[in-house]
Symmetry: C2
Subunit: 418 residues, 2 copies
Amino acid sequence: MRQSKLFGKTLREDPKDEISANARLLERAGFIYKTMAGVYDYLPLGLKVLDKINEIIREEMNAIGGQELFLSAFQPKERWQKTGRWETGNEVMYQFKDNSGHSLGLAWTHEEAITEIATRFISSHKDLPLFLYQIQTKFRDEPRAKSGLIRGREFLMKDLYSFHTDEKDLERFYDKARDAYLNIFRRCDLSVYVTEASGGTFTKSYSHEFQVLSDAGEDWLFYCKKCGYAQNKEIAKIGVGHLCPKCKGKIEQGRSIEVGNIFKLGVKFSEPFGLLYADEKGKKYPVVMGSYGIGPGRLMGTIVETHRDERGMMWPDAVAPYRVHIIELLGKEKVKKVKEVAEKLHQELLAKGIEPLYDDREEKSAGEKFADADLLGIPWRVVVSEKTLEKSSAEVKRRDKQQAQLVKLSQLKNFLAK
Amino acid sequence: MRQSKLFGKTLREDPKDEISANARLLERAGFIYKTMAGVYDYLPLGLKVLDKINEIIREEMNAIGGQELFLSAFQPKERWQKTGRWETGNEVMYQFKDNSGHSLGLAWTHEEAITEIATRFISSHKDLPLFLYQIQTKFRDEPRAKSGLIRGREFLMKDLYSFHTDEKDLERFYDKARDAYLNIFRRCDLSVYVTEASGGTFTKSYSHEFQVLSDAGEDWLFYCKKCGYAQNKEIAKIGVGHLCPKCKGKIEQGRSIEVGNIFKLGVKFSEPFGLLYADEKGKKYPVVMGSYGIGPGRLMGTIVETHRDERGMMWPDAVAPYRVHIIELLGKEKVKKVKEVAEKLHQELLAKGIEPLYDDREEKSAGEKFADADLLGIPWRVVVSEKTLEKSSAEVKRRDKQQAQLVKLSQLKNFLAK
């Protein structure tokens, strides 16, 4: 992609109305646009990151047998009255009437929807277990939406729902889902602590949260660096000064971002909707359920919070909008040869599927180009200039390293392909 | 995919509350679930079709230089007051207040949003032309949502917006976009008539509609079969009995579905938002815009309306949820060899990327399996039974043909790969 054509120029200054680092950097770099508090538009660079995160999530959900579907945002009042959440959830749920006076709500979660739908298709133990997920937009009326992509009023969510004959089968899948979640976070280069937590509005049964330490977090965590053991402060039985119950290490305290959660729902939703299955003898039981959430946008915001320095973002390879940032420096003499080499490299990397962003902007100085490259945070920076060409080379540098190195043009493709 | 595991069983009877053929068939076949009038959930089979349509659209939009982004559904009142459409559009726009009393709307189109965003990034003629698109959920308060996926209150939309220095440049791109649209419809196996139409609420300049003849349509068309010339009845200057102004052929009349539209917006949106560019001399002009819409869900509904018979749907290869439907008939003796061959074929096609659906359901009769296969409408049906194995063959049939043929097992993979 030619940077001269890319929609989304960098801004010279931080946006004035953003406090969180992720929103400041993403907006300044042209990844997102703020439409209102907690509501962001994804510009081309931002959407590329989001798509990559979504694809990682899809792969991991499919690997544990998840089937993808896509549910509506609009929800009928009657459906949510079955669980009482039309009333108890009205602080978080946008509710309104259409022009014909009918009450509607916008889904902030989909337990009611998926349970109702499942009643059409599940009737026998042979239909179980079943794992359904979607990546879809949710809406929540958040009074405190000041954390950029980390807490939105409109945001993407991956929600998976599992259906089982009994608790034991739920347990088995729950552990698999937890491992799949750990894969997702690992692939996004995030270090997570898994904490046991209360079930919130969902369930009285227990749940787990996946937490990433960060100043931008809204939770407090007691954790042990040595073994990874952690508890959410809200329900913690340990504290600073205690010894880790697992490894006797030191317990520390820090703010953290909840990047995912998994819940054992039990029969909380299947009972009000009459979601039953018949066992081998024809006897009917309520289906046992679990739910598993990750916010791809929140994940993106968390990656920015944890992968940055004073000059900008530093994307992990797996979710970077582009893998290589080619920067041509034509110099004052507008050296033709530099453009030719950069153009050729751009074409060759495209052909190899390496996804280059090519800074072909002639009006920008070397300083401006480097500053933009650091802000955008593409993992590999490749500079082509008259100076590097004297040595038949380009200068290659990782965004997260200080050291640059000259790589012969003839070896560049293979160097970057690794 | 094993059909025994697939979420979304077929229903024995048509849903009672659906009049349109597309909703009846899609719901009965387990592709969609109706949450309320004009609001559908996409189950795994339906989402597969939708994803394929989206991918075709993406390819064609990228090919004409489109850059994808993803805008929010939530819209601030102030933004829409700039064009007066907060008030004039309030019959179609869902508008409500959040818990803190702030007015919000749900986007039914995104001209206001994209124009506002563009003002941040467009300032010079060097920033033009520019082509931005998204595939995103829209909401419209439709009193008459009775046409299944063809008219929704919540629906996916591909909307592209183009930005130009002048009308002439807009004209050039407009023609390219029209051709890209024709590619999309051709790839979805839809015969479209292109009609000139009024600009509706968008513009007083002219626009074009892409129309597919169908009883399920809501528009009336005067058209000439011989050369493809057509006019929308609303603004038609020809009628039945007239001769086609292009080829002197016979003009006929029929109902049609509008599957896409393209508009020349001119400066209607750039002026109120102050979206200006400076020319070479620094003089400022309003940016000239165009907008280009296709509803992927409506496209899916239209394909069903035009590709079906009394037994079910008939998907074109490019958008079929699966390309091959393997049906094993174990017979009363539950012949082991049949399952082995079907299993092996399933694995081999998967490895070849041919996307098989494998009807491995043991409790279903041959009749039930054939009826389901016809309802689902997967292009190739491959039957493996004791009888076909006697000839070391499987029985292969296209959904849209009467004739079946025996193909040797050894040749089957290559036969289907074509």
